[in-house]
């Protein structure tokens, strides 16, 4: 034990010097352990690990020192720092590969195949099969190189006397044998560019050897990078509030977004509507916001680069409250649906109404676009579903599909499924090609639904104030439930949003916006501010931090990041330890 102590300190100092230019996250644990290892008390506390033949480092005693140093050395060589790599091997006394293996690798690189096979046997691997496969690989390369220089006799000799006796991979042996007959065509078939090719194929051999032989014999390339990436992924996935881009992940401290990455402050209030706002939606490209209101108009808003929103067009024409406004797949047009009135199609640039869709005697109460933008679907008051082409010609009409007058309808944007509420508590997913139907059978009445971007999930709003998430790939399965908001009289809508649509947001009759973490179902924030029920929410598909809400108070609120608190968080980070819980946010 005393011996261990004496040799540790200079080692740790040397390692820190080599580590810092590369800034690995292991830094903090190394510093921590150097303090630990120097105290006798700590050594006494971990008798097992120091007694073993493997020294360990790190506060938990799971990292074996020789492995740690070897993967660092490997990384240094991969990055091109050969001198530093060699120096580390020397100073630590732990070499990356022992001399036999070094020789072996050198021989493979130089193409000395016979010698490399001999050295391979000298390495002393316990796994017979691995030795055989590796020998086969080396001999195969020897064969191919002989073939290239058209040394058929020697190639044949290799195949017969060296490869066949191994008795593995006989199919390949046959293939190679047949190639002897027409060597040139075989070569041109398998090689890429001449000249460089021998180098490339040798490094390929090295790669495959790495896969065949155990990792402790030949340290896999990029092992350290792989471990660090894994760690980042785990941190990111366990971050409940995660709402930043991957490029903002840092190695310097454990990643954890605070709540300040969730939009929670009103940045703007849009007051152009003169009555309740019932629906809103961001365009697919995130540059526009469309809203529709009980005041019989719809508005298209433009979002500037700095996030400021201004009115672009007011769409006037409906004689009834406008219950929905939907963007065409190319964002150049919108559809509006007047409550039990007509459907209108508008051009976004000019703000003009381009077409009106109606059918005698019945009226639409929900609508949607075809995924190619060339047609329109509508749920009608007589419970049928109608489909028109853009010019108003009726394409199809399905009767008697639904039992309720008021219900949503949508088509997934891959054009596969027609989704509608067909019975009080049942959603029908109709496959238009295969004409099969899948059903989502709920326990309560369904008031509205919304589809995810990837067409794999659907959020179902129920009468009993619950929102349920269903997976609709294959047979529908329920995945999560979200509770907390209030709904007793109105149609309240919810949506997906944020980084990888990891959050679920919803309106509520208590005038607040609710946001849950999608996979855990945990309620993250409740946002007060509106003075009336929040009917609909939409999260920008391009700006992770912008959320819009429509309310009975006639306003639309745009929610964003809490700028003031963000500044405070930054100050906090500078003062705290490097292993801090708060992550240094993206530099805005």
């Amino acid at each position: 034990m005393g011996v261990v102590e004496d040799t540790e300190p200079p080692l740790k100092r040397a390692k820190r010097l080599t580590d810092e230019p590369n800034g690995f996250s292991a830094n903090s644990s190394v510093r921590g352990s150097s303090v630990n290892n120097n105290s006798l008390g700590d050594l006494m506390a971990r008798p097992l690990t120091s007694q073993g033949d493997e020294e360990t480092i790190g506060s938990k005693g799971v990292i074996k020192k020789s492995e740690f140093i070897r993967i660092i050395t490997r990384a240094l060589y991969s990055l091109g720092y050969d001198k530093t790599g060699a120096m580390l091997e020397e100073e630590s006394g732990i070499s990356l590969h022992n001399s036999t293996i070094k020789l072996f690798l050198q021989q493979v690189t130089d193409g000395k195949w016979d010698q490399s096979v001999k050295t391979l046997h000298r390495i002393g691997l316990p796994d017979e099969k691995a030795v055989k496969s590796a020998s086969f690989l080396l001999l195969e390369q020897k064969f191919l190189e002989l073939l290239k220089v058209e040394n058929i006799a020697d190639a044949l000799g290799t195949l017969r006397n060296e490869m066949a006796p191994l008795r593995i991979n006989t199919k390949r042996v046959h293939e190679l044998a047949s190639s002897l007959i027409s060597p040139s065509s075989f070569i041109s078939h398998t090689t890429s560019t001449p000249g460089k090719e021998s180098v490339n194929s040798r490094s390929k051999v090295l790669e495959e050897l790495q896969n065949l032989l155990p990792a402790s014999v030949i340290i896999p390339e990029k092992r350290l990078e792989y471990l660090v990436e894994n760690s980042l992924h785990i941190q990111r996935d366990s971050c409940v509030f995660h709402n930043t881009l991957d490029s903002d992940l840092s190695l310097y401290s454990d990643h954890q977004c605070g709540k300040h990455q969730i939009p929670s402050q009103t940045l703007q209030i849009l007051e152009s509507h003169t009555d309740e706002v019932w629906f809103l939606q961001f365009s697919h490209n995130g540059k526009y916001l469309a809203s529709s209101s009980k005041d019989q108009t719809a508005i298209i808003w433009e979002i500037s680069v700095d996030g400021h929103i201004s009115l672009k067009h007011t769409l006037v024409g409906h004689q009834k409250p406008v219950i929905a406004i939907l963007w065409s797949p190319d964002d150049r047009q919108v559809l509006t649906c007047g409550a039990e009135e007509v459907i209108r199609r508008w051009d976004v640039d000019s703000g003009d109404c381009v077409h009106m869709y109606e059918k005698g005697g019945i009226s639409p109460i929900s609508c949607g676009w075809y995924p190619d933008g060339q047609g329109i679907i509508a749920g009608m008051t007589d419970r049928s579903i109608c489909m028109w082409d853009l010019d108003g010609r009726e394409l199809e009409c399905w009767k008697g599909q639904r039992t309720q007058k008021v219900s949503d309808i949508a088509m997934t944007d891959d054009g596969k499924w027609l989704v509608s509420v067909c019975k009080d508590s049942v959603i029908s997913l109709f496959d238009r090609e295969a004409t099969v139907e899948r059903l989502i059978e709920e326990e309560e009445m369904i008031t509205s639904f919304s589809l995810s971007n990837d067409n794999k999930y659907i959020l179902v709003n129920l009468l009993n104030q619950e929102i349920r998430l269903w997976n609709i790939e294959g047979d529908p399965k329920i995945v999560s439930r979200y509770k907390g908001h209030k709904r007793s009289r109105f149609i309240i809508r919810s949506c997906f949003g944020g980084y990888k649509q990891a959050f679920v947001a919803s309106g509520s009759e208590d005038s607040q916006v609710y946001i849950w973490h999608r996979s855990t179902g945990k309620l993250i924030v409740e946002l007060p501010g509106h003075a009336g029920a929040v009917n609909c929410v939409s999260w920008s598909p391009t700006n992770l931090h912008m959320l819009a809400s429509a309310s009975d108070d006639g306003t639309i609120r745009i929610w964003g990041l809490d700028r003031i608190n963000q500044q405070n968080q930054k100050k906090h980070v500078h003062g705290s330890s490097s292993n801090g819980v708060i992550h240094r946010c993206n530099g805005n």
Binding site: K405, T447, R489, D552
Partner: protein, 126 residues
Amino acid sequence: MGRLFVVNLEGKIYSCKHCKTHLATYEDIISKSFHCKHGKAYLFNKVANVSIGETEERLMMTGKHTVADIFCVSCGSIVGWRYETAHEKNQKYKEGKSVLERLYFQHIRTSVSRTPGLILKLLSQI
């Protein structure tokens, strides 16, 4: 108020006297012999398009119950009450069921036009 979510019922329907929103169907009647201070009331298995108020303890003719008033979602007027819990064993059957007061609802027929053909046929046979 926002965009109302209103359910449509079929058959013989009882609807709100003020706004004609469907409240319950004839099939769901459990008992027609309930009473309240305004007169008669019917006990229903289930009702639709109502929102529930605060629960409170009330002493009724049949004993102490925990009830909550129910309101029409469309116009907000009170239409009856719902039994949450009954304190006496023989009153337990009422739990979860709703009472609509006769004063607040009216009887209307379904709007599904399945029946006209049948009626005409019957009339022609008379």
